[in-house]
Structure formats: structure tokens, C-alpha cells
Symmetry: C2
Subunit: 118 residues, 2 copies
DNA sequence: CCCACGCATCGACAACTGTCAATATCGACG
DNA sequence: CGTCGATATTGACAGTTGTCGATGCGTGGG
């Protein structure tokens, strides 16, 4: 299976009880984001023009070794959150809008009203 | 500090590069959700009437021991995602809409346009 | 008063994670 | 071809996590 898996994960949490399979699909994306360094990496990439950034720009923003940043970027890529493109010696990452949209829709706050049937 | 921390975490990821402090605040909430069991627990609570459910209703939906479910519910509570209320012998959880809204706003997909300055 | 029941805590253990130093790979450029 | 600079991989290690069985703690009913 491709690393760009289809995003079949996107009904709001509040819509209906999530199946074990659905949860197993979504959890890895959240896991990838559930780290301060990776959150900042995503944010840095997404807030750049074109939602794209070179690894060489990201590294100096952290007090971490190059292999560590490379590892975090790999985690984000394998979770389907970042695309990876090699241009010459450099590697550019850009955010996958579908992934962001999928996560956003998860948290659409359509809570069941108090009077409704369970 | 209260377990109901203020949610000072809510600008979209794409708006500007997240500070280390911001990331350290948001990451624990995502970490709490980054587990298939906890995702399903949240979804089950949120999709019930009033976004509220008794622990005794949640337990039988899983093939896990009672201490394990209790542990997961505690993690969600300590992350500020679920409120906990004891009524007699039973414990009821309900979702905190502010927390959901905060997470939703994180993923608002306002990516920087390709032509804009970095 | 004691028991049954719902839930929480504890202690233990295997599995996973974040980090680094060392090293490999790969492309550009003399 | 040799070297240099950017990134990836490997191996190691401490710390964290998910799970369980055993046990503790309140609450309500006989």
C-alpha cells in the first residue's frame, strides 16, 4: 500500500461511535502530531508560502541533532501529513491539505443535543 | 494548576510557526487522543445524548480489562478532554466542547498561498 | 454490619519512543 | 575521480506507554 493512503477517516467524532477500524486508521495521524517538535515542524511548513519548506530551513530552528529532525520529518511523512520531494541536494516538504482537512473534520463540534435519544 | 487549564492553544497550525511553549501545551491533548481506544472512548461519549456517558456503558464495548479503561478515561480527563462526575456508585464523563473547538481550530486549513512572501 | 458492586490505584512487564553519535548515501562541483 | 555538503540509516540507551492481575476504596442494599 502507498504511503499516501486514502483518507477514509473523516466523520466528526461526535457523529457516531467510532469503529475499532476507523480508530486504528486515525490514531497514527494524531500520534504523529502528538509531539511538540513535530507540531512545530508541521506549523513551520504550513505557515510558509506554498505550505512548503526545505529541511535545511527547519533544522536550525531546533536545538536537536540533524538525525533527530530527519527522524521526525520521516514520521510526519509516513503518517501522510507531509509530502517529500528531493530537489538536487535538498529535500522539500509540503503539507498535505487533505490530511489537515480530515483532522479538522474530526473535531467538528456537532455534539449530540441533550434531549436527543441515545 | 487546575486540571481544567485554559485553552491558550488555538491558532491554526498554518497561521504562523508555533512556539515551543505553544507546542508543549497542545501536544498533550493530541497525545491523549492518539490512541485507538481513547479515540473510540471520546467518540462514544461525544455521540451520546448530552455528550455524556457512564463508565459502565463504555467498558463493555472493549475487549480490555476494567483497570485499562479506567486508565484511558483518566488520561482523557487529565488532558482536559473529558469532565468527570460521580453520581452515586457510577461515574459519568462528558466531553468538553472548548477542548474540541480548540483542536478543531488547530486544523483550520488556511494554508499560506503559493505566491505569498515567506 | 457486612456484603456486592463500580471504579481507582498499585506493581510489574513488554513494547514503543525520542534522542544521540557514528556512519552511510547521494548529488553537485571542481 | 575526489571531495564536500545535505540528508538518511543504524545501533544504543533511557524514558514512557499500554496492558494486566491483585488489591483498595466508597456507596447502596439486605
Amino acid at each position: 500500500m502507498s504511503i499516501h493512503a486514502p483518507l477514509a477517516c473523516c466523520t466528526p467524532l461526535a457523529h457516531e461511535p467510532m469503529s475499532a477500524d476507523q480508530a486504528a486508521q486515525v490514531a497514527p495521524m494524531l500520534k504523529a502530531l502528538a509531539d511538540p517538535v513535530r507540531l512545530r515542524l508541521m506549523s513551520m511548513v504550513m505557515s510558509r508560502a506554498g505550505a512548503e519548506a526545505c529541511a535545511c530551513e527547519l533544522l536550525p530552528a531546533f536545538d536537536l541533532s540533524q538525525p533527530t529532525i530527519s527522524h521526525h520529518l520521516k514520521v510526519l511523512h509516513e503518517a501522510g501529513l507531509l509530502d517529500r520531494e528531493k530537489r538536487g541536494v535538498w529535500v522539500y516538504f509540503h503539507a498535505r491539505p487533505e490530511a489537515m482537512a480530515a483532522l479538522g473534520s474530526l473535531f467538528a463540534t456537532t455534539l449530540a443535543p441533550a434531549g436527543a435519544p441515545a
